[in-house]
């Protein structure tokens, strides 16, 4: 993929929602903003991670806050470019590339808007290969790349820069600022060179999102199985097919936590799958035994349409297919597991790989 046009946005948003593993919110607003930006500024050039010059100045940009707030207080597109410019000014460099830090409903489209506005190419890759809830949870953290200096910008014109002692502190301070800014802010962070991006990024994420979105669409058009198309594309495995029979939600320390129970149908008849989620799906258990956990991807799709389902949208009666797919291998390093393994999220489990238990 060398350019991104408005025609690919629906596929990009749908594919990103698949990799978003239940988190990332409703992509509608992000898609509208990106469509408008591409209409005004033209298509965005896409650069593969391998083609980045070593000394490129890559600035990732993302939305931080509550997806539920974003559907009401619509972000302003200018804010997105300003976040990048604020960081560029602070670090005293001229950005050459924009990048995506997370794959998920909204954060896959925010960098498209920045790239279109600033007339910069967009890196075909991201910092996670999926979605996670906190800003230190990215592969660049494992490579020793600092989240800060980072900029944080609201729609009112407030701008801030944090320069913190660790990426965890960046998360903590930025979270507080985001809340005061009205619970949605645009951040630009993890400024890095082309060489660093090549080392720490998951390559090809944007192309993968578009390909996933198109695979779902193509399967539906040709009356093939869209769920199988996603499994194939991700090299994953179908864990369970069934119907949601229970969804329990609770809120603790700012996360939408909960469990969903999926009663097996067809080939899964007689088995019960339980999903444990905190914004994203983190653990899948069948008949009481964990069969897949974070950092691998646990994805819930509508069994019929193949449409990805966010944790907020799960409800009784939904016919769903649950699949697991391998995360980037670096997430399985000891440091990766410390950062995003099941124990970080409070589940007393060793990580279980998507393709491990059969």
């Amino acid at each position: 993929m060398t350019t991104l046009t408005a025609a690919e946005l629906p596929a990009l948003a749908r594919g990103a929602a698949v990799l978003g593993t239940g988190g990332g919110g409703d992509p509608h607003i992000g898609r509208l903003l990106a469509e408008q930006a591409l209409r005004v500024h033209g298509a965005v050039e896409i650069v593969s991670v391998d083609d980045l010059p070593d000394d490129a100045c890559v600035l990732p940009v993302a939305m931080m806050g509550a997806p539920t707030v974003m559907v009401e207080k619509l972000p302003s597109a200018d804010q997105i470019a300003i976040a990048v410019q604020t960081l560029a000014k602070y670090v005293g460099k001229t950005p050459t590339h924009i990048a995506c830090i997370e794959a998920g409903g909204v954060n896959s489209t925010v960098p498209v808007i920045a790239a279109a506005q600033l007339g910069l190419p967009l890196v075909d890759g991201d910092g996670m290969g999926r979605a996670f809830p906190e800003l230190q949870m990215v592969l660049p953290t494992l490579s020793g790349i600092e989240a800060t200096p980072m900029s944080i910008v609201d729609e009112k014109g407030n701008r801030g820069v944090f320069d913190t002692i660790s990426n965890q502190w960046a998360e903590r301070l930025a979270r507080s600022a985001t809340v005061d800014m009205g619970c949605s802010a645009i951040v630009s962070l993890y400024a890095m060179t082309g060489a660093e991006a090549r080392e720490s990024f998951v390559p090809g994420t944007l192309s993968q999102c578009v390909a996933l979105g198109q695979a779902i669409d193509d399967a539906r058009r040709s009356l093939a199985d869209p769920v199988a198309a996603v499994v194939d594309r991700l090299g994953g495995r179908l864990l369970h097919v069934g119907k949601v029979v229970d969804v329990q939600r609770r809120t603790t320390t700012g996360f939408a936590r909960g469990d969903a129970t999926v009663d097996g149908l067809d080939e899964s008849l007689g088995r019960l799958l339980v999903l444990r989620f905190q914004n994203e799906h983190l653990v899948a258990e069948i008949d009481g035994a964990a069969v897949a956990t974070t950092p691998d991807l646990i994805i819930v799709l509508d069994s019929e349409s193949g449409e990805p389902i966010t944790t907020e949208a799960l409800r009784y009666g939904h016919r769903v297919s649950v699949l697991a797919a391998p995360a980037d291998e670096r997430w399985h390093s000891p440091a990766g597991i410390d950062l995003v393994g099941p124990r970080y999220f409070g589940y007393d489990l060793d990580p279980i790989r998507a393709l491990e238990v059969v």
Binding site: E72, E155, C183, G317
Partner: protein
């Protein structure tokens, strides 16, 4: 006594009810002239069962006029959309996601101004009254006759929408209608705003239709109050209907489901309306339809109306029956309205679901001889297919594991057995042809709250009580009998990432209409 009338695009149904007893019912073609149509309908009721107009306590009307006007893009007023939210939201101004054809039909003009709230009630920016006056001047210059005002997080605080309305009214005069988004929709700015703009565009039509309806009822000597039914199965009075025509959009399916439930004596059930091509399945809980949680597209505009959640599947009386090896399929292809020419029992050559029902002895329409030679195994398999698919659709719509009785209505309900797989008992009420009008006549009055609350530790119960009380107060203000009001729907969803246990609470109260002495 009360009268219920459902004015559909094709037919107008009317019933005269005493309590829940049907005294008279009729069905006629909808006429172009609203007033004349209602007068005619009332005359027919009078002819079927003479009644003293003074004995009528209330008249309830469900109408599709407004949604049809939008879909057909006719009789819409020149409309301005004013949003308070700057400096936020500027990138996606009002009308941004509307089809251009409809923007032209409403001569849509879009304005952005400062204002709006944060999720916790803080101001995004203060209102700039001079800015609003400048916008008002531009509206006058462009012949705007109706204005929709939306403000960011107005479901949390309505103060800016109210103040902006005051300013616009003083600039534009009383002849320009003003619609406020916090009174129309819920959280989700674009969707709520879209619904408000649609409402604004329908205000002039609403005035003329409501006058026509009121005139017809009064002309018949009925002095009782007139109500219109809303999407959620509750009523609004005539003044409210003038201001909120958009609230009638989905009243048709809602009235049909509620009417069917009343006729069957069940208040928690699935209603399966089997037509010629599709079956529509909805679920009633305590007499009210479950609402769709997803956005609803109306005439190409994304909205978040309170619409009943209805699942349509491709099975109806005209569905084609096919046999492929051992697999028997029914639908989704259908002969539709050509059923009476193409089905075997009507002398045609196409095997339809209706032929199967006749062959099985479940229905007696057309010629039984025409299907006498059908293979009994095929008939059995086709009926089993229909039962399994309908049961599956009902199953999907269930929100709890408790068994759910099924109320079957519509001409195609002859296809259903007395028990569906999953031990779902099937009920078939009388008078279902006028279920819509009955649904209108039995409608109650409701009040709703939908807001994000910051719940301090230990305060959850107090906040919940506050929300419930507000819903009840709103229902009473809308005309509900205070002794009858109860909470029928309560939903609490924590919002991720927000501090202070921010929780979105939706709560609905309804009660019987307070009727005057007769």
């Amino acid at each position: 006594m009360r009268i219920g009338i459902d004015v559909g695009g094709t037919n107008t149904d009317a019933v005269l009810l005493d309590g829940t007893t049907v005294l008279a019912a009729n069905k006629s073609a909808t006429s172009e002239d609203v007033t004349a149509g209602i007068i005619d309908t009332l005359d027919r009721l009078q002819a079927e069962r003479a009644f003293d107009p003074a004995q009528v306590q209330a008249v309830m009307i469900g109408t599709t006029h407004f949604i049809n006007a939008l879909v057909e893009a006719r009789r819409l007023a020149p409309t301005a959309a004013l949003r308070l939210g700057l400096p936020a939201t500027a990138s996606l101004p009002p009308l941004v996601d509307w089809p251009s054809r409809l923007v032209e039909a409403v001569k849509g003009r879009s304005y952005l101004a400062h204002g709006g709230h944060e999720f916790d009630g803080r101001h995004i920016a203060e209102l700039d009254e001079d800015e609003l006056r400048r916008h008002a001047g531009d509206m006058v210059a462009h012949g705007v006759r109706s204005v929709a005002i939306s403000s960011v997080f107005s479901p949390v605080s309505n103060e800016f929408e109210l103040r902006a309305a005051e300013i616009l009214r003083s600039e534009l005069g009383d002849d320009v209608a003003i619609s406020l988004s916090h009174e129309i929709g819920r959280i989700g700015l674009l969707e709520r705003e879209n619904a408000t703009i649609i409402n604004a565009a329908l205000r002039e039509l609403a005035a003329s239709i409501v006058d026509g309806l009121a005139g017809a009822v009064a002309g018949h000597g009925i002095a009782a109050p007139l109500y219109l039914s809303q999407n959620d199965g509750t009523l609004m009075d005539v003044d409210f209907a003038r201001r909120y025509p958009v609230a009638t959009f989905a009243s048709g399916p809602t009235n049909s489901m509620r009417g069917a439930a009343l006729l069957s004596g069940l208040d928690t059930c699935a209603v399966v309306d089997v037509g010629g091509t599709t079956s529509d399945v909805g679920v009633l809980t305590h007499g009210f339809p479950r609402e769709a949680t997803t956005e609803v597209d109306v005439a190409g505009v994304r909205t978040n109306f309170r619409m009943p959640d209805v699942l349509s599947i491709g099975i109806g009386g005209g569905s084609l029956v096919a046999e492929d090896n051992d697999l028997v399929t029914v639908g989704p292809r259908s002969v539709g309205y050509r059923l009476t020419e193409e089905a075997l029992v009507f002398g045609g050559t196409t095997l339809t679901a209706t032929d199967i029902a006749v062959a099985a002895g479940w229905a007696s329409v057309g010629s039984v001889d025409a299907v006498a030679d059908l293979d009994p195994t095929l008939v059995k398999a086709a009926l089993a297919r229909v039962a399994a698919d309908i049961a599956d659709a009902v199953e999907r719509m269930r929100t709890s594991p408790d068994p759910l009785p099924v109320v079957a209505v519509g001409g195609g309900s002859i296809l259903l057995p007395d028990d569906l797989p999953g031990s779902l008992a099937v009920h078939r009420p009388d008078h279902f042809a006028v279920a819509n009008a009955i649904g209108a006549a039995i409608a109650q009055v409701g009040g709703e709250v939908d807001r994000v609350y910051a719940i301090d530790p230990g305060r959850r119960d107090a906040v919940v009580d506050e929300a419930r009380q507000e819903a009840i107060d709103r229902a009473i203000a809308a005309g509900a009998d205070p002794a009858q009001v109860r909470i029928v729907d309560f939903d609490e969803v924590p919002i991720p990432y927000l501090p202070g246990n921010a929780t979105r609470i939706r709560c609905k109260a309804v009660g019987d209409l307070r009727l005057g002495q007769s």
